[in-house]
């Protein structure tokens, strides 16, 4: 990391008068891209459109951190490509097959067919403003 990344070059260590007692303990700011594993090849950010998953805690504008290496489970939230659309949906495994379970209870589950691509599993979520 270069000095300028840490904000003006001062990190808490390089004092001019009294030697900083923190000199050997500087750790730098918390790096969210490390916590969210964004430098790994399987992590892709995806933006949410629509309010259908509000009850699941997913709001429009949220940034989903998706994982293309993770195995889907019953109850996972996943990114799905079907019929030329990109969807984020809850997965269910019932009667030997996968289903998409719409957030709104009045809508029936949709079976996952051959033409449906399970693109990634949602692993984490970032909300820029609360």
């Amino acid at each position: 990391m270069t000095g300028s990344d840490k904000g003006g070059g001062y990190t808490g260590a390089e004092t001019t008068g009294f030697v900083s007692p923190a000199g050997d303990h500087i750790e730098g700011p918390i790096d969210l891209s490390q916590i969210l594993d964004l430098r790994r090849p399987h992590r892709f950010p995806v933006r949410v459109l629509g309010e259908a998953l509000v009850e699941r805690g997913i709001l429009p504008g949220d940034i989903l951190i998706t994982d293309t290496a993770a195995e889907p489970r019953h109850g996972s939230v996943a990114i799905i490509m079907v019929g030329g659309e990109v969807l984020v949906a809850q997965l269910a495994f019932r009667r030997g097959q996968w289903w998409l379970r719409p957030g709104r209870r009045d809508q029936p589950p949709v079976p996952v067919g051959e033409d449906t691509q399970l693109w990634a599993v949602v692993a984490a979520l970032v909300r820029e403003r609360v």
Binding site: R47, V48, L87
Partner: protein, 420 residues
């Protein structure tokens, strides 16, 4: 030295990278165009089947009725570079060593204690699942054989994307059938030279007297022959060789006829070249500028001029812009319609190592200013902070009318998904 080398490459890599994020591109012909939306540089199999060739100029073919289903895309190098990085990482976690040979091809050290056919099938599957790029893998005892195997895996669908040329008998059978021009490093001129000696197939080539081949094709050709015979001469290169020079050149979106536009363009190229220079901690002492008109324009005079200068080593955008603009001013002719210009930096030296006996610049203040500018641009996106000479409106800039979002490198452009 590994006993087995592999070569993995992305199928129609640029098109595949576009398809990852845009389901509307699945199962339809996709073509990616070169800088400035010039010509086809990547095609899906569906686009190849429609007769689109590499290098076909977009403005000439786009009107054809049979090409109506084609989805054209401007080249999105921010995206392709990031997808290449992902492919590399998936591989690096699974094999001992990876050499990134080009944006879409990686050589692999395949010294793994496993059955290679199932291992390579697993690699392919992992790259497809995680980085979402379809690939082909070829392998054999040398890099040249691995490259040949990779080409076979690509061209012969029945191989299922995998080709093993480790067995000498199997190799010999392919060598009989394949022209020597299929080999990595044998260009069309070399092929002609060989043809005059009656060498047509790869089998003919490896049977030829090595000394005669070395005389005809120099040590490079001799190496290719040895590699095809199964003797490894080219190790994996883990380090990128230090650059001798770098360039930033672009075709204009439309002909440039005003000096003010040309000055902006040259300043912008000098600035970009200086950024590349600093990213590699280098300085330049031999900048050059060129500009030319369209060689294909009918009824117009073609003119190509260039100018080079020796300067004190610098990596400062402001110094290089000043030098480049000064040189460009000397080349500029009113009344011409310029199609392309560029800034080339030669004789690169490590930054800050040059003795400055009569230095006139202030290297420390310069380095600090440039570091701040580069950091801001890294954080807030390229071009956020730039010298004013590089222009605001940029009327001359490259045409990229069909550019897809930078899905993985820009937070305002990431893929969107509708909640179900």
């Amino acid at each position: 030295m590994p006993a087995t080398y592999g070569l993995i490459d992305g199928n129609s890599f640029y098109c595949s990278a576009e398809r990852v994020f845009d389901p509307a591109l699945h199962r339809v012909p996709v073509v990616v165009l070169s800088n400035n939306d010039g010509c086809a540089i990547a095609r899906t199999p569906e686009a190849k089947a429609l007769g689109i060739r590499m290098g076909d100029p977009w403005h000439l073919v786009r009107g054809r009725a049979e090409l109506r289903p084609v989805r054209w895309r401007s080249s999105n190098y921010a995206l392709y570079g990031d997808m290449s990085r992902r492919v590399y990482q998936v591989l690096a976690e699974r094999v001992p060593r990876v050499e990134p040979y080009s944006i879409d091809e990686m050589f692999l050290d395949l010294d793994v204690p496993r059955d290679l056919a199932s291992f390579c099938a697993g690699l392919r599957a992992a790259v497809l699942r995680i980085a979402k790029v379809p690939t082909c893998v070829g392998w054999g005892p040398t890099k040249t054989i691995a490259k040949l195997a990779n080409g076979l895996a690509k061209d012969h669908a029945e191989l299922g994307g995998l080709c093993d040329l480790t067995d000498p008998a199997e190799r010999a059978a392919w060598y009989q059938r394949l022209p020597v021009g299929e080999v990595w490093g044998i260009g069309s001129r070399t092929q002609e030279k060989l043809a005059r000696l009656g060498v047509a197939s790869i089998a003919d080539f490896i049977d030829a007297d090595p000394r005669a081949m070395r005389d005809l094709l120099t040590v490079v050709g001799g190496r290719v022959q040895a590699e095809l015979r199964g003797t490894s001469c080219l190790p994996l290169q883990m380090m990128v060789a230090t650059r001798k020079g770098l360039a930033c050149t672009r075709s204009f979106g439309r002909p440039v006829t005003r000096w003010s536009e040309m000055r902006e363009a040259v300043a912008a190229y000098a600035h970009r070249a200086a950024e590349k220079l600093r990213a590699e901690e280098l300085e330049a002492c031999h900048p050059a500028v060129f500009m030319h008109t369209d060689p294909h324009a009918k009824g117009e005079r073609y003119q190509h001029l260039q100018h080079a200068a020796r300067i004190e080593p610098t990596g400062d955008s402001r110094d290089l812009i000043a030098e480049a603009v000064r040189m460009a001013e000397g080349l500029w002719r009113d009344g011409l319609r310029y199609a392309k210009a560029g800034v080339v930096l030669n004789d690169l030296v490590p930054a800050g190592q040059q003795a400055r006996l009569f230095a006139t610049r202030e290297p420390r203040a310069s380095a600090r200013t440039m570091a701040v500018m580069d950091a801001i641009n890294r954080q807030h996106g390229a071009g956020t902070l730039r010298p004013a000479a590089t222009g605001i409106a940029r009327s001359w800039s490259t045409r990229r009318a069909m550019l897809s979002p930078r899905y993985t490198t820009h937070i305002s452009e990431i893929m969107q998904a509708t909640a179900l």
